[in-house]
Amino acid sequence: MSTTQTLTPTMKRQRRANLRRNAFYLILIVVGMVAPFLAYPVFLMKVLCFALFACAFNLLLGYAGLLSFGHAAFLATGGYITGYLLASYPAMTPEMGIIAGTLAAVVLGAAFGALSIRRQGIYFAMVTLALAQLVYFAYVQSPFTGGEDGLHGVPRGELFGIISLRSNLAMYYFVFAVFLIGFAIIQRAVHSPYGQVLKAIRENEPRAVSLGYNVDAYKLVAFILSAGIAGLAGSTKTVVFQLASLTDAHWHMSGEVILMTLLGGVGTLFGPIMGAGIVVSLQHMLGQSPLGNWVSVILGVIFVVCVLSFRSGIVGEINKMYHKNFK
């Protein structure tokens, strides 16, 4: 009964920070609810899908310290499995398709992780890249993906068999809900007993080993979680755009998610969302302008500037400024 928990000043400060964060979440939710009336919902859905993808990637790089160069494989796997199931079995509802796609990404993540997790640094990145290329070529050849043509005309269907997702507004709110669920899972994982161990491993891996932790198992869990949420993003994207294509499996996509995460701020909660928003907006705007062919060049320049001058990303830099001025 005497659970006199000692609340240290730091913990009180943390609790206050938590309150501030909750307020921020609330604002985010309100903005998300109003957004489709201010901007084109399809564009917003694209941003949300990539934001979720970047958040999943950030869980791995920012909190487990693992740089995967093969995350496109999970995005694509989610997309193809969901697309194939929804197109082939009309009885399938969209949420069933998305769950199946996510599970497929989880399984693939477990396989990738089991093969790569013991490698360190650049070797880890290379192994994940090689495995993702393997998956890419498998999808080029497989009949169920439609090869070079991709899968088209995937029906959006009725959510739970009752709510039609044909209207972009209904679809938007569904995507927003999926995004919030994925984001919440990541947040909880980061601030959980597991998250504490993950942080300790990132800070000092040999010490974590000497405290009895099997560090590879913890990293593997992070990898699988990240792969699953990347798959969730891919599955949802397929339902939104009613197509799944090789673009998602290409290594460009693995690079793009790195760019989004670094630009917004790796290891921050909102960085990947902002990074995804900026990259998708740029692609959208530039794609329609005469500069269309220069998208890659412009993104490349932004990437170089980001890495050279503000390494902690936009949100990371804002956090630094905040701490400098208000502490």
Binding site: T3, T4, Q5, T6, T8, P9, T10, M11, I185, R188, A189, H191, S192, P193, Y194, G195, Q196, V197, K199, A200, E203, N204, P206, R207, A208, V209, S210, L211, G212, Y213, N214, V215, A217, Y218, V221, L225
Partner: protein, 257 residues
């Protein structure tokens, strides 16, 4: 009979690409002792240490803990047996507070360390115990400080608190006073003496005054093999040891004693 030795090695050998760093070492550590492993630079102390703690696999030989072979176990596995090591460079989690550092060690036995769906507040019941442990090493007022902001000597004390949280039966300390000023050295010597009660300690140490003050038994390594073993008086009187390692330093000690 084997039980009097808590840790034992038989013919322990480690070769790196033809170079024999550790050669046929038979080490016996008695339960309850503070045992030092000393030797000149390159004698293989740290390699032996890494072999014992499974951070390196041995080329040949056996390691026994309480008479049972642990040669094939993994580093995290022997930590769970109660054999907990420290590191040469202070091993702390820099961007966590002192309290969180200790809590990470307390957290594993409660079995929720893979629970990514629970709030970290479920760990709050460990805070009191963590602060108690910090108190034992004189770090109570540092509980809230981010470890990266703590002075070096305090970090080493924090490392000891974290190790104690594992409730080790045996502590393996890798140069616990390395890089410390005289004041910090005294503090750490006192701390080791205090926490060694009821435990076994094996330490690699350069500072001979620390060894003479603390240790019950000393093993001297030179060029990868055991040169001498005994208490401080016996070892420091051994002419082989004087020649190989202590040289003038030992004579000075004797002169002053």
């Amino acid at each position: 009979m084997t039980q009097e030795f808590i840790l034992e090695t038989r013919g322990l050998t480690k070769e790196f690409r033809g170079f024999t760093a550790v050669d046929d070492v038979n080490l016996q550590v008695r339960e309850g002792h503070i045992h030092a492993l000393i030797g000149p630079n390159g004698a293989g102390k740290t390699t032996v240490f890494n072999l014992l703690t499974k951070f390196l696999p041995p080329t040949r030989g056996e390691i026994l803990y309480r008479g049972k072979p642990i040669t094939g176990m993994k580093a995290n596995g022997i930590a769970r047996l109660g054999l907990v090591r420290s590191f040469q460079i202070s091993a702390v989690f820099a961007h966590m507070t002192a309290m969180e550092n200790v809590r990470v060690a307390l957290q594993r036995p409660i079995g929720t360390s893979f629970h990514f769906w629970k709030s970290e507040r479920t760990l709050d019941h460990l805070n009191d115990r963590a602060i108690e442990l910090l108190d034992q090493v004189g770090l109570r007022e540092y509980a809230d400080v981010l470890t990266v902001e703590m002075p070096y000597g305090r970090k080493r004390a924090l490392e000891v608190a974290t190790t104690l949280a594992m409730e080790p039966t045996m502590m393996l300390l890798d140069e616990p006073t390395q890089g410390m000023g005289a004041e910090d050295v005294d503090r750490i010597v006192e701390l080791i003496r205090r926490v060694a009660k009821g435990r076994t300690v094996l330490m690699v140490e350069h500072n001979l005054s620390v060894v003479s003050r603390l240790c019950d038994r000393i093993t001297v390594l030179a060029r990868g093999s055991v040169l001498a073993e005994g208490d401080y008086a016996a070892v420091s009187a051994n002419p082989l040891v004087k020649e190989a390692y202590m040289g003038s330093e030992a004579e000075e000690e004797e002169a002053s004693a």
